[in-house]
Amino acid sequence: MKEKLKVKSSKLEVQKIFLLLATCYLLLATVSSCVPQKEKVYRKSKILMDTLITISAVSDSGDKADLAIEKAFSEIEKLDKLLNFFSDKSELSEINKNAGKKAVKVSPETFEVIERAIYASEKTGGAFDVTIGTEITLWDFHNKVKPEDKAIRERLSLVNYKGILLNKRASSVYLNKKGMLIDLGGIAKGYAADKAVEVMKKKGIKSGLVSVAGDIKAFGLKPDGKPWKIGIKNPRAKNEDDEIMATIELTDMAISTSGDYERYFIIEGKRYHHILNPKTGYPADGCRSVSIIAKDGAITDPFSTGIFTLGAEKGMKLLEEMGLDGIIVDKDGKIHTTSNLRGKIEIRGSQGQKRNN
């Protein structure tokens, strides 16, 4: 009688344990299904436009994301073929070769980029100017060669965006002086990011991120429902730990950063970098880095360059006037942000940098 009872009770316990086991597995299953398996971020990188481009797409299907990302890459490739300064076959080269000779008929994309470049030139009072091309060809940042002062001075008269004549009806571009050269390096990447996002949206992608080197455009939200988190490079990073100066969360916005730390060399303690002041032909020295946030990459890209040239004080004033957001690190390392960014930007800080806003 006693034995029977024991067996019965152990049977009951076995049942209890199985129940416990089942509950545990159910719990595990629920937890793992909470980790977003429905929507995922698909990411791919390619080298195009002489830089590293990374595209992310949020989708519930890997095939769908892959197709959209590939379409976006081929759009960028197409733009690169039209706008490449170094390629002999680009439409841009055609315009440059015919400077002072004749107007060149171009595709709507090329026309639009140049139109938007001129807009940025007008707003910045010429601090951004795509006709800087003639001066850029004098500098060699790979081999650390500083051109002769005389050569720089001689070509200055060829730097003036007002010499770009657009004919909208004929979709043509004419440079009115022989030797003038348009270099779209300060706007093409931002514009390409805009176009890539457009293509992905058309392919049914609701959220993603396109980064063409330092020009980034974000749209929609991540699978966890949060906006995209973008880091801004510290212009004087010493190691991996202080590489990021600040972070900001963005959705349906573009951000571009121009800095004096990308392509540069130092001679006798003076830093010569790739952002040339169109007024002087020499590297602009008012800032270390400028980041601009706006709806379009075709705005953020040229304005980050133009405001870098304007310097912190004039730059901040223009940003507030235009209602654009920006973060400027001035030549002393002090950080300035537009008033609208207060509370939205997380500054990690770094050595020698003080905040001022």
Binding site: E13, S211, A218, S258
Partner: protein, 136 residues
Amino acid sequence: MRLEVRRGKKEITEGTTVADKLLIVALMIISLSGFIFIKNVFPQGTDVRIEVNGKSAYRLPLNTDTTISVKGVIGDTVVEIKNRKVRIKESPCPNKICIHNGWVDRGAIVCLPNKVMVFIGGSEDRQNKTIDAIAG
């Protein structure tokens, strides 16, 4: 009352039953499946992916020291893996930015002229949990 207490004490001190053994086995299974579960949800950075001109070329373990020559568009890029770190040892490119990058244990090294990209897998995901892209 006193009798009940004594009986309870007696039951606890009895030897292990079938049920006890089953409980131990069940607990072991649960804890083991927990390990597997965590490994799947939080993958560690253990592989190195090398791409050439946008196409996947090699996949190597990060914990095995290796040196590999990768044919790019202008020549051979030599990638070295040592002590769970990766570097580009030799490159045919003019500016050698990739070589100056030095040893890296997360993220990526890119040689633009030779179109060679080296990604450290897994750890890239861990980094991306905090930041999605870098401007500048």
